[in-house]
């Protein structure tokens, strides 16, 4: 047993050392997902609703009427009101810098573009404010709550997706590149000429991958929880199991893409071919529900979709592993099948 484990340990250590001594590896594994999380977190942070700009048109000679309407509307939450000469108000409406123009008189005329969403909102808000100011009473008391709850913001949706994408990238690149590089520089052949077992060689890649997984996940998730308050509603153990299964699944796929390739260019091409559809389809940045129903069975069968669903299930919905049996099984199946095929067709020398 020790006889088998010592070479395995040395191979794993060698692999880890070579990785950790390369700044670019550290960047892609640790820094890049964080930078992406920060950038997207800032870009899509939830802002308080911005005010809607409207104008009150003052026809020549009826400035006073316009001012009184302006005074009635001033102080309405979410409305920014300007009293302008009629020609200027019309121009602003044309340019889109105001959403609606109020023309005082009887009747009061609202001029607005029915194709603009902000104009439609302005129409409702302005009329409501004006009628209330003139004495209309609400029939029933109401209250407003804008939604900013933890767990349903964009950043909460994004972080598990980023983690899934990261597990895919590191798993595939980490294994695929290293295998092809060792093959190209004949290190693999040299190792085979020693009494090393092939299984030790392949297992060392998997172990090295798992050793990096812990820090990698903790950095991203820890940061997201602290900086953005992203929730972790399910059990940490369940989360760890899903992360490990995801990492192994993509390690298998990485090994498969690298199993024949002789050049780094070749394996990069293959990996991009495999990963590209998943970046788009698997719900990393936006929900995969946006794609047509006919595509859904295919999308659901992709390993990254399954991993993202499982990660979101645990983090956001607090789902148990049992409840996530479907996506987890899909990941396991991908991992096992890729590994089996990779071993069958692997080019050793």
């Amino acid at each position: 047993m020790g006889e088998y484990l010592r070479p395995l340990m040395e191979l794993t250590l060698a692999r880890l050392r070579e990785q950790l001594r390369q700044p670019e590896v550290l960047f892609w594994v640790f820094a890049f997902p964080l930078l992406l999380a920060v950038a997207l977190g800032v870009a899509f942070r939830n802002r308080p609703p911005s005010p809607i700009r409207i104008a009150v048109a003052a026809e020549p000679g009826s400035r006073a009427a316009a001012d009184s309407v302006g005074a009635l509307l001033a102080g309405t939450p979410r409305l920014a009101v300007a009293v302008l000469p009629a020609s200027q108000a019309a121009e602003r409406l044309r340019q889109g810098s105001v959403a609606l123009v109020v023309v005082p008189g009887n009747p009061v005329v609202y001029r607005w573009d029915s194709t603009r969403a902000d104009s439609r909102t302005a129409r409702l808000v302005t009329d409501d404010a004006l009628q209330s100011a003139l004495g209309r009473k609400s029939v029933r008391a109401v209250a407003d709550r804008t939604v900013m709850a933890r767990g349903s913001r964009y950043i909460d949706f994004l972080i598990p997706g980023l983690l899934g994408m990261d597990l895919m990238g590191t798993g595939m690149w980490g294994l695929g590149y290293a295998v092809v590089d060792a093959r190209k520089r004949r290190l693999m052949k040299r190792l085979l000429a020693s009494p090393m077992r092939r299984s030790q060689y392949l297992l060392s890649f998997v172990l090295a991958r798992l050793a990096l997984l812990g820090p990698e996940v903790m950095v991203l998730i820890g940061f997201a929880m602290l900086a953005f308050g992203v929730p972790m509603r399910g059990s940490l153990a369940g989360f760890a199991v899903v992360a490990v299964i995801g990492a192994l699944c993509f390690a298998g796929l990485g090994l498969l893409t690298a199993s024949r390739a002789r050049t780094v260019e070749m394996v990069s091409g293959l990996m991009n071919l495999v990963m590209m559809p998943m970046w788009v389809l698997s719900g990393v940045f936006f929900s995969s529900a946006n794609f047509p129903a006919a595509m859904q069975p295919f999308i659901k069968a992709l390993p990254l979709t399954a991993l993202n669903d499982a990660l979101r299930g645990i983090m956001l919905d607090g789902a148990s592993l049992a409840a996530l049996a479907g996506p987890v099984a899909i990941c396991v199946a991908w991992g096992v099948v890729s590994l089996a095929v990779a071993l069958k067709i692997f080019r050793w020398v």
């Binding site: 040395e10 060698a14 070579e18 004949r186 290190l187 020693s194 009494p195």
Partner: protein, 314 residues
Amino acid sequence: MSPVAVVPAIRCTGLVKRYRDVTAVAGLDLEVRAGECFGLLGPNGAGKTTTVEMLEGLAAPDDGDIEILGMRWPEHEHALRERLGVALQETRLADRLTVTEVLRLFRSFYPRGHTVEEVLAVVALEEKRDAWVEKLSGGQRQRLALACALVGTPDVLFLDEPTTGLDPQSRRQVWEIVARFTRGGGTVVLTTHYMEEAERLCDRVAVMDHGRILALGSPRELIASLGADEVVEFALAGGAPAPVEAELVALAGVRAVRRDGPRYRMTVDEVHRAVPGLLALLQRRGVEMTELVTHHATLEDLFLSLTGRHLRDA
């Protein structure tokens, strides 16, 4: 002599390896004796690497039979690998591992062997023990490759072009390490296209070209087979009618002549008789000599006489 001593370390018969449109090895028979240093000498593309990689069990022959230390690929693969040491042609073992880390890795594969410290001393890399491999010079890297091959105390050492691209001093360091291994009773198979290397290190040499063995024997025997000890090379200026080969062979002490344009190459028994005869002949013709060199016959001269080509640029 005890009967054990005559059991060969390596025996192969009828070895053939074909790639799509080339026959890299075209029916090779070899016997390497236990304890000898055996050289495969040949130009690039002769089939040396293909041959040793088949012997090392890294490439499967299309035909033929290989027996090493009484065992065979692939049945005895693991047992064999524990007893063979290998340095491949052009391998980058690692970039950002230290010398010690690489050696510890290779040592872990073998049930017995040198300690890392011992093998560092054997290849004189103690001072570089903590240096990353990517920071080593070519000679140091090659010595590290040798150390990896030696760390499991092999019975048979395979070295594919161990000194190609090295400066003369690094080359001598490698030779010293190999010589020490054979003095300790180890068997070595090495490939090279440097005739000095084969002459210095090898007990026996197989001269290879186009996947075949052209000549086999000790360097001394092979050179003696030329039937002459010395080589005279000269070049003539143009103008006057140059002498033909037949006239030169007729000179006293000359064995053979080869002409390549204005350049001539004569193998001779006795330089002190051949050169005066040559000078006298040229003087009578009024032909001017632009260059004259004589040297002891080498394996290079043998290769040239067998193939008409040089080892280096063939």
